[in-house]
């Protein structure tokens, strides 16, 4: 339903998306990547809002940048918070329905607002809505034309846990109904709940693609870097190497340790310090953030 072939997008000297290719069919596909990885740029190209510098983007076999009709088959919930703030939620969604040529815009707008659990007849302008409510207005707008392809850019941002659960259930319902959903997130746990198909994008490149559980294993098995502060760095480092607990050690003001067996290292570090009679002051992971995971995935390609 969606195909991206060797797509590159550059803004002057800055390459936002670099030679990305993938195809996506019905169901949910999560696009995982840190902020600034190129997810939104990729989504903008899918919707035709931006033209690729190189490569080809197709939605339902057509180019949304030049094909007016295919835009009626796409529902987008953009990342940015902007809405026509003076309209009520019903007016906003109803106008979107009209712009899509929906036969009964008011009825359809009411249906999708109810679907995302927003009060249908609330006369307040959306400008006065909370972040979570605005997010749901965007989702309702994306759904109002019953699109074949839904592109949802960080749709769970700003929602409380109950709303998140409800939205994820809703996405799963839509995916099971045969819609193609592309959902971006920079939060690993969110992606875990969205389904099994994952595209990982980092530094503008497709770092990994496939089943979420395989990807999770890959992430857990990567080498980890840990900072250790002890009284006698050299003797402690020698002991760790001797016991085969680390793959590499860098000795500076603190020790920086590389290991692929984080659990084993964690279990042994305190007993080793005790055996040597050195004082263990700090053990802290240096690369536990998602950025590091993505960097690893990019570098291993």
């Amino acid at each position: 339903m969606v195909s991206v072939t060797n797509v590159t997008k550059a803004f002057g000297d800055v390459v936002a998306v670099s030679d990305v290719s993938f195809t996506v069919g019905p169901g949910i596909t999560a696009l995982l990547g840190p902020n600034g990885a190129g997810k939104s740029t990729l989504f903008r190209m899918l919707c035709g809002l931006a033209a690729p510098t190189r490569g080809e983007v197709r939605v339902l076999g057509r180019d949304a940048r030049t094909d007016v009709a295919v835009r009626g088959q796409i529902g987008l919930a953009p990342q940015q918070d902007a809405l026509f703030d003076r309209l009520s939620a019903l007016q906003f969604v109803s106008i979107a329905a009209e712009m899509h040529g929906v036969a009964d815009p008011d009825t359809e707008a009411r249906r999708v607002l109810d679907f995302v659990q927003l009060p249908v007849d609330d006369p307040k302008p959306v400008g006065s809505f909370s972040k979570g409510m605005r997010q749901r207005v965007k989702l309702a707008t994306a759904l109002v034309n019953d699109p074949a392809v839904l592109i949802l850019d960080e749709p769970l941002t700003g929602l409380d846990p109950v709303q998140r659960r409800r939205m994820i259930e809703l996405f799963n319902e839509l995916g099971e109904a045969g819609k193609c959903l592309l959902v971006s997130s920079h939060v690993l746990d969110e992606v875990a709940r969205l389904g099994s198909k994952v595209l990982v994008i980092a530094q503008g490149r497709l770092a990994a693609a496939g089943d979420y559980h395989d990807l999770r294993d890959l992430m857990d098995d990567r080498p980890h870097r840990i900072r250790v502060r002890v009284d006698d760095s050299r003797r402690f480092a020698a002991a760790l190497i001797e016991r085969g607990l680390v793959d590499g050690v860098s000795i500076g003001a603190d020790l920086e340790i590389d290991t692929t067996d984080v659990d084993g290292f964690g279990r042994s570090v305190a007993p080793v310090a005790q055996a040597l009679g050195v004082r263990l002051r700090e053990v802290a992971p240096l690369d536990d953030d998602l950025e590091s995971v993505f960097r690893y995935l990019v570098e291993r390609r």
Binding site: R44, C47, G48, L49, A50, A51, A64, V68, A69, V70, R71, G72, Q73, I74, L76, P78, Q80, D81, A82, L83, F84, R86, L87, I95, A96, E98, M99, H100, G101, V102, T141, N145, D146
Partner: protein
């Protein structure tokens, strides 16, 4: 839902949405005040000059008419008409582009030109009463006859139509369209057009002023065009600007 939305419907929907976005209390009050000042000037200038008892009546009438035309063209067509048009037209699509709401117009199965025309109509709808009413009242208060009132009203309508199209286009090209538009009004319409009839032909003020000049018979340096030319050329400029804005919108990278 397959296929594109009919263009007439797309114009109507865009018009409705953007009209609602454009009308804010602050804008209306600020621009109404400028209009009120222009109308007040008409009243002041119309009464400020005592007739010269040594001149024949027709001479005194002609001097009063000259003063009235100068006020209407210099204040009205140089300040009120372009500035009111700028505020609304540059914002019509420019604001949506800057705040990110353009995506809700762009990503719809609608051709681009109805979006541009809808935006332009919304800007014209708000600008016209804020311009035509004070300009007509100002001309009326000068108390120099109906031709000035007709000329001021007609020139205002033509000015709003053309400026609005130009500034809708501007809003799709630059950020801070108001600043760029003001620079254009001051430098091009204000200074360059004042260099005489040749220069005035490349400024909209030359055309709006020509309408008043033709109707009242008062010669103005920058208003030497025939009335038909002064009406047709701004309309052609508006059509070209709207077409160009449609092309620009099609090729725009929407954030």
């Amino acid at each position: 839902m397959n296929g594109s939305v009919p263009s007439s419907r797309a114009v109507a929907i865009t018009y409705r949405v953007l009209l609602r976005q454009l009308v804010s209390r602050g804008r209306i009050i600020a621009l109404s005040l400028i209009g009120a000042v222009v109308a007040l000037l008409g009243w002041v200038v119309g009464r400020a000059r005592d007739d010269d008892v040594f001149l024949p009546t027709e001479f005194n009438d002609q001097i009063r008419l000259d003063d009235a035309v100068a006020t209407v063209t210099n204040i009205g067509f140089t300040i009120l008409v372009p500035i009111v048009s700028l505020v609304f037209a540059a914002a019509a699509l420019g604001d949506t582009r800057e705040d990110g709401t353009l995506v809700y117009l762009w990503l719809r199965p609608m051709k681009r030109w109805p979006i541009v025309v809808g935006a332009w109509l919304a800007a014209v709808t708000v600008s016209l009463p804020l311009v035509v009413i004070p300009m007509s009242v100002s001309a009326y208060l000068h108390d120099v006859g109906s031709e000035l009132v007709i000329g001021a009203a007609l020139g205002s309508v033509i000015g709003v139509v053309a400026y609005s199209a130009m500034f809708v286009l501007l809003g799709l090209f630059v950020k801070n369209g108001i600043v760029w538009g003001l620079a254009y009004i001051i430098i091009w319409e204000g200074v360059v057009a004042a260099f005489g009839s040749a220069a005035a032909k490349v400024a909209m003020r030359g055309y709006t002023s020509s309408i008043v000049s033709e109707r009242t018979g008062v010669e103005i340096d920058i208003g030497t065009l025939a009335q038909s030319t002064a009406i047709v050329v701004p309309i052609v400029v508006a059509i070209f600007a709207l077409w160009f804005a449609s092309v620009r919108l099609q090729n725009l990278e929407v954030a």
